[in-house]
Amino acid sequence: MKHFAVLISLLRDRQYFFDEVRRDYKTEKKIGSLLVASAFFLACYGAIIGASSSWLQMLSSAIKLPALYLITLTICLPTLYFFDILFGSALTFGQYALLVLISVSVISVLLFSFAPITLFFLISVHDYNFFLLLNVAIFAFTGLMGVKFFYQAMQTIDRSETAQLEPPVAAPLKLAEDSPQPPDDFLPIDDLSRSEKSLAQLAQVNRSTGLQSSNQRTRRRLLQFWLVLYALVGSQLGWTLRPFFGAPNETFQLFRNIEGNFYSQVFRSLFTLLGWN
């Protein structure tokens, strides 16, 4: 039962953890552990937000909240993986799954750390809209932190990967610099062929490095695009899976009718809270 220890090791020493991910060290075990730990924390937080309504809602939210994060991950993961390998990434599908799970795990831990605060407001303030907006803020904050963590992990691994792939450039360049300067404009044939070789090597290195950095830039842009996609899929799935809170004076509903969207509801709640409705 070392699932939580894996998560703690991620939080304590992230650089070492990222390095292990890059080396594909015990990836499968880490995936299992992070899956279990994040599902547990998310279920706990889901139960707390569902408790604002009824015990049935509590049970329902305890399943729905981890489902929201984990299914979003499952939906978006293939896009990230296939686009990245198209642009030169050498990571495996398992490594990508682990990287995305890192983000979900961080979100789950942060949500769990907010649980006492949410519970406090649940007990002390009986205002549905306030509770709703408070949680939207918490979800937004934890989501941003998780995404930041994930972005950092991807950047670190990408840099290490590129550093490993780069061919050694010092030796051939040094050879060219150290070559004795010929007395006239005509190079001896031997030196000429050596210089040509060095130049060819240099050109090859430049081409290779240029291609790698171009691929790296593309992958970075793809990652940014993917994060937007992830947020969109997540918010839409969240809207599809609602209710998570359970509106006051309403009986338990497994699902609500799909009407409007997540963003319009946030603004509606905000206006109601500010008395503009």
């Binding site: 039962m1 699932h3 015990k26 899956l35 279990v36 279920a43 399943i63 489902a67 499952t74 699902f255």
Partner: protein, 238 residues
Amino acid sequence: MQLDLVDLRITPDQLEKLTGLDISETFMGRVYRPSVFRSVRRFLPFLITEGLTFALILIFCLPLGLVIGRGLGWLSNAGTTLIFFLFLLGFSVLLFAIWNLYMWQQGKRLKTLAHLLDEVDKHNDIIEAVDVMDQLSAVQSASIQLIDRSEVLQALAATRESLVNALMTEKIFRKYRQFMNRRQELFTNIESNLATLQTLQIDAQANEYGQLLNQALQIGLSLRQEIRQWQQLEEREK
């Protein structure tokens, strides 16, 4: 624990290197160890893991299934919703059963390793026992004397070497069934260590270490039996 005893232990890290798998009290690689059913201490983590696995299956199956069901219009009234909900629960149980069946199938292939790991546990338990006796003798200086400590350590060293050889052989056998260059050498080592153990056991005086030596010998005998089974299996395959 004294340094000589520490060196004789087979640690989880060493086990990981020797077997090429993640070894814990509950798992060997990704499958359950049969020993989880033999003690309550190990059965509890097994139960928790099973519970967590089922919970994860539910987390994926129930919401996704219900969303799909709603999209297809199968959740129009309470009756059909309940039936669909029960169907999804049944489907989750089926997936859980398939998962366990897969684990059981995988576990069958690692039967020998499971047995060796149990022997490693016994070996480590003996070392713990010797350590306890060392500590007791340090406290009650005269009443418990370490008469044959060196012999016990010699026996444990032989057992350790046998276990390491057996684990290496098992790994080689598991990974490279067609390519086993060191096989004969490892088998010979195990046989010679067993002979050492038998000699020590005969020489042992009737004292508190007699039983420990006997246990070490039992491990050695068990290993030899296992090796012979492999040899027979290989001869049959030839």
